[in-house]
Each structure stands twice: as C-alpha cells, then as structure tokens.
Amino acid sequence: MPIKAIKLRHPWRMVFAVLLVVIFVSVVVDAALRPAYDWPAVGKYLFDRRISQAAVVTLQLTVYSMVIAIVLGVILAVMRLSPNPVVKSLAWFYLWIFRGTPVYVQLTIWGLISLIYSSIDIGIPFMDPWVSFSTNAALSTFTIAIIGLALNEAAYMAEIVRAGLLAVDRGQEEAATALGMSWSQTMTRVILPQSMRVIIPPTGNEVISMLKTTSLVTAVPFSFELFTRSRDISAETFNPIPLLIVASIWYLFFTSILMVGQHFLEKRFARGVGDRQPDRKDAVGTGTGTLTGVVPVVDSGQPSVIAPPRQDDPPANPGGVK
C-alpha cells in the first residue's frame, strides 16, 4: 500500500526559480532590444567566409596540437615511471618548465624563436652542419603556434596519463614481469591499454580546453584563428561586440559537439570498470570486483588534472637489480 503523507514542501525553491526565470527573461529581452549588441551584424558575420575559415583554422590548431600533446604526454608519463633515474629526471624537468610558466609567455617566446636561433642546423655540434635552414623559412607562424600549444599541453597530458598508469592494479605489472616480459612490453601490452579508461575522460576535457586556448596564439603572433580574426574584422568595422558574440557562438558550437563526443566516450570506457577481477568472495561470475589500484574519480564537469594516487612510489621492481 502506498504511503499517504503530505509531501515536504520547498517554498523557497519555487520562489528562487521564479526569480531566476524573471531575471533571465528580462536580460534576454533587454539584450534583444539593446542596439549595442547589433544582432543584425551578428547574423551577417556568423557565416562570413573569413569567420568560418578562421573556425576551421581553430579546429586545425586544436586537433594537431592535441595529437602531438597526447603522443608526447604518453612518452613523458612512461619516462616519469621509468626505472632509469636519468630518463625520470628528464621528464620531471620538462614538466617543471612547461607547467611552471604561462602558456601565453611560452607562445610569445616561441614567436621570437627566429631571433634566438636564426638558423636550424643539423649535424655534429661545433662542426659545419650537414643541413641548415633559416628558422623563418622552416617554421611558419602556424607551425610555431602548434609547437607552442602542443609542448605546453604535453606536460598536462603527461600527468593525466601518469595517473592512468598508476591506477592500474600493481598485480598486473607483477604478473607480466613474472612471465618474463620486459618493462617496455609490460607497459605497452598490459599497463597502457588498461589505463585508457582513466585517461580518456580528462583528455576530453583537455581537448575542450585546448579549443579555447588556441585564442592565445595571437601571442606568436598568428592571427588566422577565430578570436584574433574576429578582433581584426571588428577593428575595421569599429563594432567589436557583435564579432565577439559571433566568435563565442562558434566556440560554443564546437565545445558542445566535443562534450557530446566526450559523453559517449566516457560511457564506453566506464563499462570497463566492472570488468576487473572478482576479488575475494564477492560476485563470482558477475564480473564485478574491487579495484585494487586507487582510481581517481573522473567527473566530466571537473577540472581535468587528477591527483596521482601514489606520488612517490616507483613501479614495483621494474625488472632490474637495485
């Protein structure tokens, strides 16, 4: 029999909701009528050729730099967990530099690279180079923008990947080592594939974040992406506000698509959570089990830097003699 009871009322919730709706509607109506927003101009520039081309460039910057950052991040993370102290410190040093300085500063320095190194020489140090390029000719501002974004992002990706690697049960490394697998085989065949579940969600966040960070490449200076392009157009029309709205709409459009993609990726990889080994006497056959490693809880709305579960632990005897 259903329980008959008078529902607990939340009068303040209602009041608050009504208040919010009223404020929201008045802001929207006000915005629609305010001439400064210049909505006709927004409509006109939203699909302007220059703007849509800039949107494509922004996407290119995002994709290229993220791909490089992910590859480099995996390498750095594996290096940080390496048993080799030299390799380890090298990775640590990289992270120290690239996470310790603002990306805007880094992009500016990359933009000045041709002042610092006027030519790129390949050969033996202090000897005549085999090949020599002029830096300006070899590196377009587009390339420099990608390098700058990717190298900075790699430092953050490295931490994400590292957290993922550490989240894999230590018994996995032990089992692989006991089978005679080398450290690199253990990493590539056993640990990395399993860490994907932890790595992918925050990587989605990083992609969204990168999309927005591309607006900083004006520091290089590279000016064909969305934000700088709309600023340049508005400098001609003396009408900045509608163009800022146009750029924002494009950014929102891309991030929304990415968020949908991320949602599906997360769902897909969350399935793996139940796929761990049944621990002690629970759930034999159902496949649910206890996670032995500490798995950082990744929430799609949260900032993407996860605290690594075990900070100073070296990998369980990575196959060498101390």
């Binding site: 048993p83 049960d169 018994g171 996995q172 032990e174 089992a175 692989a176 080592t177 006991a178 089978l179 005679g180 697998m181 080398s182 450290w183 085989q185 065949r189 056993v190 594939p193 399993q194 793996g272 139940g274 796929d275 761990r276 080994q277 049944p278 621990d279 002690r280 006497k281 034999v284 056959g285 496949g287 089990g289 032995t292 369980a316 005897n317 990575p318 196959g319 060498g320 003699v321 101390k322």
Partner: protein, 266 residues
C-alpha cells in the same frame, strides 16, 4: 659460500631445483626473511605454511627475482638468481637477463592477476608470443591444449570478468604453464576463492604435481599439503621453524609455534 657441485662431490650431480642459502631480505629496517636455508629437489612439491606476515610471499618473490635479496644466495636449477658469478665476484644482472631467468619460473598469484583486457586464450598466448617470439599459430594450438588441460577449452574466448574465480585461477595456471617453466610458484592460489571453487583449482595443481612439475605452494589447505606435498616448511617471523615430511609435521609438530599455528588452521 660452497659450490653446489663440489659440495656433492661427483661432477655429474644434478643440482637441486631451488637452493636457498642463508637468504635474508629486509624492507628498510624490517627484516622479513632471516637467513632462510632450504632446498627443493627436482619434481618435489613443497608446501610453505605460516601465519600472515611470516614472509612466505616475500620468499617466493625472491625466487623469481621480483624482490632483490639483502643477503645470502639463491639459485634455481644450478643458476644463481639475479647475479652472475665470475672470478669469485658477483655481477648484477641486466634486466634482460633477469627476465630470461623468470621465463623458466611460473608464478600464480592469490588474486589471479589475469590481464582483464584479454580473453582467456589471449592471456595464455601473450607471453609465448611476445617473450619467446614463437609463431602465433603454434602458440594458439598449445594454448588451446593447455586450456583444455585445466578444463576450460570452451571458455577460451571469455574475458576474465566473465569467468568465476576458480576458472580465472585455472587460466592463470595455464598462462604460467604456457612458458613451459621448470618450476612453479603458487602464492595462496585458493585463498581468494569461494570454498566450493577451491577444489577445481587444487585438482589442476594435483595433476600438475603428478606430471612431475617442481612446485612451491604457499597455502593454508592442509589437506592438499598432506595429500600432494613431498615436504612441508613452516615459517614464522621470517625463519624456517620446522621442515620435513608433511604427515609427520601435521600430526606431530615438534615446535610450539607450529603447534599453535596448526591448531588454528586444522
């Protein structure tokens, strides 16, 4: 340190499968193994029992060099583990050589440690393909044979998550056997299992013992020790308290600590 061969006199003497001489292991100031000396012959099944924290797992891990000794020496099949000896000096082994030694020593863990992203068959095939570089078709055939041997022929394409604990542990045994080891180490292989699943794993181990495999088994299954083991070692506090014939120790333990332990587990 005496050489195994000269100690036995004749040059044709076959070395024991495992020879531990005054093996010690410390973690920081915590001395976990204190001068353990013991020998496991070829084809022998040795059960290692003792209370929690007595160093049983650590000793097994030392045997396949997952843990580095603090003192003493340990050899498997006459070959020093973790070091190379030349001109009376010990040289640390490169990781590659240590990995080569581990190939010949199979290990089965309490929590199975199957690779969850691979099917049972892939778990068994992984090491022979990657480590030994054997051709895939050949490995697949022998992996299927091995799975059949542990009674899991029809589960070859299941992922670990879809297997029961007992089935997972049997896959883990097959995975270790796929490397054709000369020695198998079992670290409480049935402790994580439901009571009704213990038997199926012990049966596989019994079959393995019958086939002549040299085995060191850390276990609390005294019935298994009585039935299968050739020798039983009781450890406590990092030392071997009592060692010998399983029947004798189980029915008539000499040492008070052994008596106290057995009265709890039997």
């Amino acid at each position: 340190m005496t050489d195994v061969n000269t100690q036995a006199g004749a040059s044709v003497t076959i070395p024991p499968m495992v020879l531990a001489e005054q093996v010690s292991k410390s973690f920081g100031s915590n001395e976990v193994l204190k001068s353990i000396t013991l020998e496991v012959k070829r084809g022998e099944v040795m059960c290692l029992v003792g209370p929690s924290g007595s160093g049983k797992s650590t000793f097994l891990r030392c045997i396949n060099h997952l843990e580095v000794l603090s003192a003493g020496r340990l050899s498997v099949d006459g070959e020093l583990i973790g070091y190379r000896e030349a001109n009376g000096k010990l040289y640390e082994m490169a990781p590659k050589e240590a990995a080569r030694q581990r190939r010949d020593i199979g290990m089965v863990f309490q929590r199975f440690n199957l690779f969850p992203h691979m099917t049972a068959l892939q778990n068994v095939m992984e090491a022979p393909i990657r480590v030994k570089g054997l051709p895939k078709a050949q490995v697949e055939q022998s992996a299927l044979d091995l799975l059949a041997r542990v009674g899991l022929a029809e589960r070859a394409n299941y992922y670990p998550a879809h297997l029961s604990g007992g089935q997972q542990q049997r896959v883990a045994i097959a995975r270790a056997l796929a490397m054709e080891p000369k020695l198998m180490l079992f670290d409480e292989p049935t402790s994580a299992l439901d009571p009704e699943l213990v038997g199926e794993v012990l049966d596989v181990m019994k079959g393995l013992a019958k086939s002549g495999m040299t085995m060191i088994v850390v276990t609390h299954e005294m019935g298994f020790a009585k039935e299968v083991a050739d020798s039983l070692v009781f450890m406590d506090g990092g030392v071997v308290v009592e060692a010998g014939d399983p029947d004798e120790i189980l029915t008539n333990p000499q040492h008070r600590r052994t008596q106290a332990f057995l009265s709890k587990v039997l």
